[in-house]
Symmetry: C2
Subunit: 245 residues, 2 copies
DNA sequence: AAGTGGTCTAGACCACTGT
DNA sequence: CAGTGGTCTAGACCACTTT
């Protein structure tokens, strides 16, 4: 490691350090899994304070190039998994195509009152019931996606009786003869709050991608409002689009 | 302002402060444009160090809830503009639909050698020429999108002669009878490097959304490789999808 | 017990903004 | 000029992991 820091130029020290490692990693000179020097080692070797080192590493973490493990150290991340957020197949299918050792864990499953927000989104009455499902997707036993599903109970009676470690859409198709067809929603960047940090096993304020959408059946009826939280350090988000409307 | 900080609990101080302001802003109790207390004021009032205040504000900035202006202070951001990254119309049309006072500035315009990467993406020869266009999109005189376009010169001879303060796709349609039809690519989170920070007038390491895609004509020929960098604090990214493949 | 990253403090100097 | 955020230092203590 031979970083030559320019302490008098206009480029911040932390940025020079960050870029040094970023280029090393992107050029595959530091391979996935490799441990970086510890914060204190870097601080000593480069003669900068630990705060400055931490600021440099923070940028690498946010881009998903590195990850920190408390008590262990800093490591170069694995390559990202391509995931097609646009395609309307269920997450189960998407993950099966590109990742191995996937697992789905049901975190919560219950019937709730619709309330105003979800009644609007699903075009149902405020007093209607909603089937609520919170699931966590794992790849190699690492939690990577958080999924919140809301479905109108009147469309899917007794939905709560099924096992949701498998595809939700598969159940909708096989048991209710309902086929997801269109989706309308948005995505954006959020920072991990307590809930996401806990369930995805991340530090607070880790950047995440959130996608929220209403799913429509072939008849144009809203059948689901879904919110998904993706770890940006794990995925490349694919988009295939076509002029259709 | 009456924040009650729990200095002994397990929730970090910076996070308590961040969440206090986040809730205030999301509940519209702090309106866009409002100035927050300065870092030093907050530090004094809350009896925490300035470093801790800065860490709290950092999370709000990353989510686009606040912005900092050096020499001025910290301000609550305006609401985000919805932008459909998926739809295949040009950025010009997208922005016209939802924002006012938009402006496009050509930053670079030249013919370059294809090289391996772009030759592959556009399915042309390494020795072919490429028309390269770098543009910056403004809303209310604020730079919000950075666009890099690469088009095969042999498909669009003399393209460099046109004025690109208007829609690129309009020129392709009107002058070359070529219609963009499909797109294939990905998006992800990046942190602002020197180039993005300079051109978008942001601090280093501001989180940004990057979208890269190859655009195909109705005949299935690659006509453009495009890379766009969006300010996440300015946009909500819309997605409309349909099962088509 | 030793080492890791996570949090936090109390300072300091800089470049930029407004008056 | 005074005030702002941006950068940086040299410490300290904590919870967690490994030996």
């Amino acid at each position: 490691m031979n970083i030559s820091l320019n302490k008098n130029g206009h480029i911040p020290l932390y940025f020079q350090i960050q870029e040094y490692f970023r280029k090393k990693i992107e050029n595959n000179l530091l391979k996935p899994g490799t441990q970086l020097p510890t914060e204190r080692e870097l601080s000593n070797k480069l003669n900068v304070s630990r705060v400055t080192i931490r600021k440099a590493i923070r940028g690498l973490i946010a881009e998903g190039l590195c990850e920190k493990k408390v008590g262990k150290g800093i490591f170069v991340s694995d390559e990202k998994i391509p995931i097609n957020v646009h395609k309307l197949e269920g997450t189960t299918n998407i993950l099966q195509a590109s990742a191995d050792k996937i697992k789905t864990v049901v975190n919560e499953k219950k019937i709730i009152q619709a309330k105003k927000k979800y009644a609007n989104l699903l075009n149902i009455d405020i007093n209607d019931k909603i089937f609520y499902l919170k699931r966590i997707r794992y790849i190699k036993d690492i939690p990577v996606i958080l999924e919140y599903a809301h479905l109108p109970s009147k469309l899917f009676p007794e939905l709560e009786k099924y096992d949701f470690n498998q595809s939700l859409y598969k159940i909708l198709k096989e048991k209710y003869n309902t086929y997801p067809d269109k989706s309308r929603g948005f995505f954006n960047l959020i920072m991990a709050k307590e809930e996401e940090a806990k369930l995805l096993n991340l530090q607070l304020n880790t950047p995440l991608l959130i996608k929220a959408a209403t799913i429509y059946s072939q008849e144009g009826i809203p059948i689901e409002y879904t919110k998904s939280v993706y770890r940006t350090d794990q995925f490349n988000f694919l988009v295939n689009s076509k002029i259709i409307e």
